[in-house]
């Protein structure tokens, strides 16, 4: 069987999605995403909902949020806190790694 070489979409800050696209990619309804925005977990550009644009990195955050909510039974404020702390830990870990081997 011949395999084709696949090229995916890089989910970085240079790609943007509308609310509708984000909902489709993450299989969630608009209400859930709006909740995430209200909690400050997602930070779209555009001041009104109709103009919201999300960076593609958001997909990862949405999926992580859904998993944490579902698997650990955490409410949204809790997830927001976990995500902030994780980001901080990740930042500190990279620093430690840089310093450890100097």
């Amino acid at each position: 069987m011949k395999e084709d070489l696949l090229t995916g979409d890089i989910l970085d800050e240079h790609h943007e999605l509308s609310l509708r696209e984000l909902c489709r990619v993450c299989s969630l309804d608009t209400m859930r995403i709006v909740e995430f925005v209200d909690e400050g977990i997602l930070k779209p550009t555009g001041r009104i909902q109709a103009n919201w644009r999300f960076s593609a990195v958001t997909i990862q955050v949405v999926q992580r949020t859904v998993r944490l909510q579902r698997d650990l039974d955490i409410n949204l404020a809790g997830v927001a806190l976990v995500l902030d702390l994780m980001e901080e830990i990740e930042r500190l870990r990279s620093r430690v790694e840089v310093l450890d081997r100097s």
């Binding site: 395999e3 084709d4 070489l5 696949l6 090229t7 995916g8 979409d9 890089i10 989910l11 970085d12 240079h14 990619v25 299989s27 997909i59 990862q60 999926q63 992580r64 998993r67 944490l68 698997d71 650990l72 039974d73 976990v82 994780m86 990740e90 990279s94 620093r95 790694e97 840089v98 081997r101 100097s102």
Partner: protein
Amino acid sequence: MDFKDYYQVIGVEKDATQDEVKRAYRRLARKYHPDVSKEPHAEARFKEIGEAHDVLSDPDKRAAYDKLGAGWKSGQDFSPPPDWDTGFEFRGGGFNGEGASTYSDFFEALFGQRMGAARPGRRQTRVQARGDDHHAKVLIDLEDAYEGATRTITLRNPEWDSDGRLVYKEHTLKVRIPKGLKKGQEIRLAGQGTPGMGGGEPGDLYLEIGFNPHRLYRIDGRDLYLNLPVAPWEAALGATVQVPTPGGLVDLSIPAGTPTGRKLRLKGLGIPGTPPGDIYVILVITLPAATNDSAKELYRKMESELAFNPRSKLGV
């Protein structure tokens, strides 16, 4: 197939109450959740814990498992005796998205088949459902981030065979890893996840990028850090020295009087991107060994002629 001791997995006694099972599960789920945990094999552990909880928290499944489980030890080669589950009714949810693809063969042999068996045979309303998304981690070398690479990914997709049993089919993909990726970034391959059911859309495949440790550089986002040994006279008098970068050798000019530990930046030579990362070169002044007479003589000469007190700031 190995027998799985679910009590051992969750760390409770065989006579544990439902509350004890729940508490033990909660504690372990937090510890091994793949989004939070840095424990090795967190994901596999998390699935195993979830599976154990699934069985032990459901009184019917637990009773069936207990009846079967007496006499078996964890890891023993196992196949379920015929009709082992007569007299029990499972209220489990069959093919419930994420779940179906994450249970072990052991679990499937006990609780999966039976729920699956009813599925394709009966003429019921066909459910249409989008397939699951897959997530996989891909480790690349730093050089791959500069040049791009290809990787072969193997996935296991659940499928119903002609007897209505749930089987896993391996599915191999060759994926281009473009240059300029940083740690934690994801690539989405639309439609490469689990096929949908009843004509539903397939799920997507997400690949998360990680880096193998590098011999020379530490990686932080798109920036690299490199320790560069320099001779005392290069640091004291200034010099131009060669520095290896993943893109090739570059010349770095060291100003006279540079102290050890000084960080010099090679702008834009880190991992490519918009904007590209930088390389930080950390100077480490390295002493020549005083192993022969002429080297000793040079050090003695410095001692007598330089009037140097490295501890003057300490007041000694």
